[in-house]
Amino acid sequence: MNKTTIVANPPLKRRAWSKIPFQKVEARKWISPLLIPLVILIIWQLFGQFGEVSKTVLPTPFDIATATYKLILSGELVMHLKISTIRALSGFLIGAAAGLIAGIAVGFSTRTEEVLDPTLQMLRTIPHLAVAPLFILWLGFGEASKVLLIAKGAFFPIYVNTFLGIRGVDAKLFDVARIFHFNTWQKIKLLIFPSALPNVLLGIRLSLGAAWLSLVVAELMGSTEGIGYMMMDARQFSNTDIVFVGIILFALGGKVTDSFVRLLEKWLLRWQDTYKGTM
């Protein structure tokens, strides 16, 4: 019974679907991801207003909004955000560039792999919190130690994925390259690079995420400016609402950069034929 309706319906359904005005479909796409956060916010606000919860434990969304507004007015927010962004970005660029280069070097040569990869894999397993004190000892509390920590975080995802991408090139396409007399540069440009690109982009996405995480660690460890510092400072004075502002900023920052790379992926990988999640 079910089966027959499924078989009979699709053309009809599709037509009905396409009749829904474009804006509505577009709107649905924007609203869907906001639904759950919205519900949580409303419950949270009601809970804070009518429940007996102290503001230092759980400020309401409204409190947090007010705190944000005040921070914007005083210029603190922009100042902290700017310094944090510069840190995250410069750390990411250094780490990602190094990771990309190392991934390419190791991907293209088993000799380099044998020499370099074991060491890098060992370093990869060292947690941030374990090396942070060392970086501070060496480089002090200044920018260098923070940027280095972020770079370390950003290095590995892109290194591992670039390596993986290059080694994942379909050997059958190499036969094609041989038949048509590709030279080395053509092999890299026409075959290896495009084939590895999905992995490289994934690496970039993960590296960006790692850069944000490392930023938090770096700024919480000790700093005099930045979003992490703003949160630490607020915690000391039990300004829980500002702590929440910090959390939200980190979440938003992560989301914005991630969306940017996903947009890039959509464009660069438009040739990909993969499951789009429409069952």
């Binding site: 059958k172 094609v176 590709f182 053509q186 495009p194 040739w271 034929d273």
Partner: protein, 247 residues
């Protein structure tokens, strides 16, 4: 342009064991011939083609082209298009698409394989038959003197297969390319071949070479066609019987 294939031994290392795949293969191919090779699965047909194409150099014996620089084209069982390139980019690959001469040739080929309007499509947007036609155009752009085809139509439906067989026939007739086609399809072998090579397995050898003198274009329903088909089939069955006795 003629080819002399003489492979005394080709083996694969399977763990510690050495598995002989081809033995005493002797095959002379004249310019402009259409050689079709048939044989049971695993008898080494793909391996033989790869050796002739120069993709596999690890064997004992020689493959002589009277001109060693002979341009060889290869069409694989799967289309092996580059998924990140469009149809026209796939045909051009390492040749400059912007070059006027090449552009013109590509347009011509796209016409021949009937893919007008799909130049900017990605492989994911093509059917199996269309993708295989792109692969044919890609091989032809290089103007090979020899075209090696490894079961190029085996994954296609009967209708598309027939169409592409005719496309291939037209190309062979008009461009005088020497063709070496591996196939599982007896009809295909008799329909296209001027020389039919039957192989048997374990290890792969050539059991018989049959010249096919039927005039082109061939009629599948014709009595002479059926007769030839029957002859090849009998040869096949003889092989199987001898295999049976041996084991």
């Amino acid at each position: 342009m003629s080819i002399q294939v003489w492979i005394t031994d080709k083996s694969f290392q399977n763990g510690v064991a050495t598995v002989p795949v081809l033995q005493n293969i002797q095959l002379d191919i004249e310019e402009g011939e259409f050689v079709t090779i048939i044989g049971p699965s695993g008898c080494g047909k793909s391996t033989l083609l790869k050796i002739i194409a120069g993709l596999d150099e690890d064997y004992k014996g020689t493959v002589k082209f009277n001109d060693q620089e002979t341009e060889r084209g290869f069409i694989f069982q799967e289309h092996r298009l580059f998924p990140w390139f469009t149809v026209e980019e796939n045909i051009a690959l390492n040749l400059p698409l912007k070059d006027r001469q090449i552009r013109q040739k590509i347009d011509e080929l796209v016409d021949i394989v009937r893919l007008k309007g799909f130049e900017k499509a990605y492989p994911k947007e093509l059917s199996g038959g269309m993708a295989q036609r792109v692969a044919i155009a890609r091989a032809l752009l290089r103007e090979p003197k020899v075209l090696l085809l490894d079961e190029p139509f085996s994954a296609l439906d009967a209708f598309t297969r027939k169409h592409l067989q005719d496309v291939l026939f037209e190309i062979w007739k008009s461009k005088q390319i020497t063709m070496i086609l591996v196939t599982h399809d007896l009809d295909e072998a008799v329909y296209l071949g001027t020389k039919l090579v039957i192989m048997n397995a374990k290890p792969g050898r050539i059991s018989k070479t049959i010249p096919v003198h039927l005039p082109f274009p061939r009629q599948r329903a014709h009595a002479s066609f059926q007769e030839m088909r029957q002859k090849v089939l009998e040869e096949f069955e003889k092989n199987e019987a001898s295999l049976f006795i041996k084991s």
